[in-house]
Assembly symmetry: C2
Homo-oligomer: 332 residues x 2
């Protein structure tokens, strides 16, 4: 069964996909479906012996182009719709053990191009309202396949958190006549929470971060999607992303798990362009190298985040990790 149900008390749509309960769960490396197909072996999801970047439909999708009809009719109070959209897997290396941090800059820039191509193709579909590119990295984040990979969801509506941020930005535009994230980006650039930067792109721990080592990355100028970025700007974005990922692994001393998400302009008819400012949010769950920030009562039920680490301290630690790495044994 696969359907979208409207939760009246929250005003949010939720997606049900019971086949996902049976998805592959941490298979042995020898049975990894994201590794290339080896000669003489049964085919994996990727029927070639080598690849750089592979994109394909998720075998256990949350959204599909031709979803089944819902299991219940729905009512005025409780509407139901099909799970129309797309669920794609993006694998950026045929090496089972490699992470995004390890990618050469040219490959990371190529990944930006692939993401842009997928945004262009999926956003052209009539039924798609929001193209959401993300990576869940590491078992503490809940990955069910160890082979590093990203995902793309094409939602049939702007999802709740992204929509809320856009509505906040629209109010700010109405009140101040400027893009909110242009203003917060300029403010962060002048502040003491910058982690990495170049001419075109800035990465910072936000002034009021939700998570201890959260980092946001955005173009300095107003760009709504990856398609807005010229080649050298995509390269600049890849470069700053690379620096942040290296900082993470250096600071923690292991390959740091995180949720990475890219927020771009919706593709419905909501006229969002002037308030949509492309950015990447990276959310590690660790608050120390051995302790996680759990979402519990205050966060899950009240939506109120409590953070034990000052953003200035987190940014400072991440910057220091870069310097140490350049001179020390963890240098790449």
């Amino acid at each position: 069964m696969s359907e979208r149900r409207y939760d009246a008390p929250s005003g949010e749509w939720r997606t049900f996909a019971t086949h996902r309960q049976d998805r592959l769960f941490l298979p042995n490396p020898a049975e990894c479906p994201l590794c290339p197909t080896r000669p003489g072996c049964p085919p994996t999801e990727i029927p070639v012996p080598h690849y750089d970047i592979a994109v394909f439909d998720n075998r256990f999708p949350s959204f599909t182009e031709h979803p089944p009809p819902p299991s219940v009719p729905g009512t005025a109070l409780h509407p139901v719709t099909p799970t129309v959209g797309a669920s794609e897997v993006v694998v950026w290396s045929d090496d089972h053990t490699l992470t995004l941090t390890d990618l050469p800059l040219a490959r990371l820039a190529r990944l930006m191009d692939v993401w842009a191509e997928r945004y262009a193709e999926l956003s052209a579909r009539e039924e798609v309202a929001y193209v959401f590119i993300f990576e869940n990295k590491g078992r503490v984040v809940g990955v069910t396949l160890d082979h590093p990979h990203g995902q793309i969801y094409a939602y049939p509506e702007v999802p709740p958190r992204s929509r809320h941020a856009l509505e906040v930005a629209r109010r700010y535009m109405r009140d101040h006549g400027r893009c909110l994230r242009c203003d917060t980006g300029a403010d962060e650039a002048a502040g003491n929470r910058v982690v990495a930067e170049n001419e075109h792109v800035i990465a910072y721990v936000p002034f009021a971060a939700r998570f201890p080592y959260e980092v946001q990355i955005q173009p300095r100028r107003h760009a709504t999607t990856l398609l807005d970025l010229a080649d050298h700007e995509r390269w600049a974005l890849a470069s700053v992303l690379h620096d942040v990922l290296v900082d993470y692994d250096n600071l923690f001393g292991f390959s740091l798990p995180y949720v990475l998400a890219m927020q771009q302009a919706p593709t419905d008819d909501g006229d969002w362009l002037e308030v949509s400012h492309l950015h990447i949010e990276i959310t590690p769950l660790h608050r120390t190298s051995t302790k996680l920030k759990f979402l519990a009562g205050s966060e899950l039920a009240a939506g109120a985040y409590i953070n034990d680490v000052m953003p200035e301290d987190a940014a400072n630690a991440l910057r220091r990790a870069r310097t140490t790495a350049l001179a020390g044994p963890m240098a790449r």
Copy 2:
């Protein structure tokens, strides 16, 4: 350092409390600060040899009555305020191993009275806008003390998720002239997702649950807080809560971790009473007895929940667990 910072891009306040980084982390049972003080031993947090229910200020608070001044001045874009409010601990048994499920019904009803008393006292404070009663149960939810206990946060504003639900309810009231949760409660009562019920109270897996085994409990009639409930209604609420907790443990075969949260009317001057309908949300993280529902990219960054279990199936399984328990080896 302890302060509240406004996150402009989300329009949300977040709380920073660096002393919490050093809070006690899973101490040995012999050093449990929530156990009663034993004769001849150093005092715990509770300086008596026996107790039924104890309430006291959290030693590592997120909010306090007299918070320190913020570390930074704040700007128009980035306002900062003190962490004024309250953080209390509520321990309902001096037995280190007992859980809420194990409480005799009379003690559970007494706990409702204590929660009501705390709501009354904290809500009377000028600076308190929202009294939030919750329990984080189990290490997978991130508890740092194993001794079962609940908490109360008194926030200086209505927290984001609670506020959002109230705004949705206010729009519904404007459009339909009725309390949204009165309507969804009546709809759930007539549906096939009821888990437990009596004359005054109903418990159900919501039509569009966020989490696989989420249960919500509410009075059938419009009641805004525990203070609205007569003694027999509090007893009825305790009784249904007890049934749901027994179902959980019977179905999973172990003491099921969860986040339990009570949503009641705000205590700011927002005139929320006609759209505030008291309810308890219980959110277990398990999707099977061995697998958790992790919040990852879609939930954390897009706010879009994907659920692998149909609410009707979850409700049915929980109901069956009650019957089995009455006849079987796990009966209490």
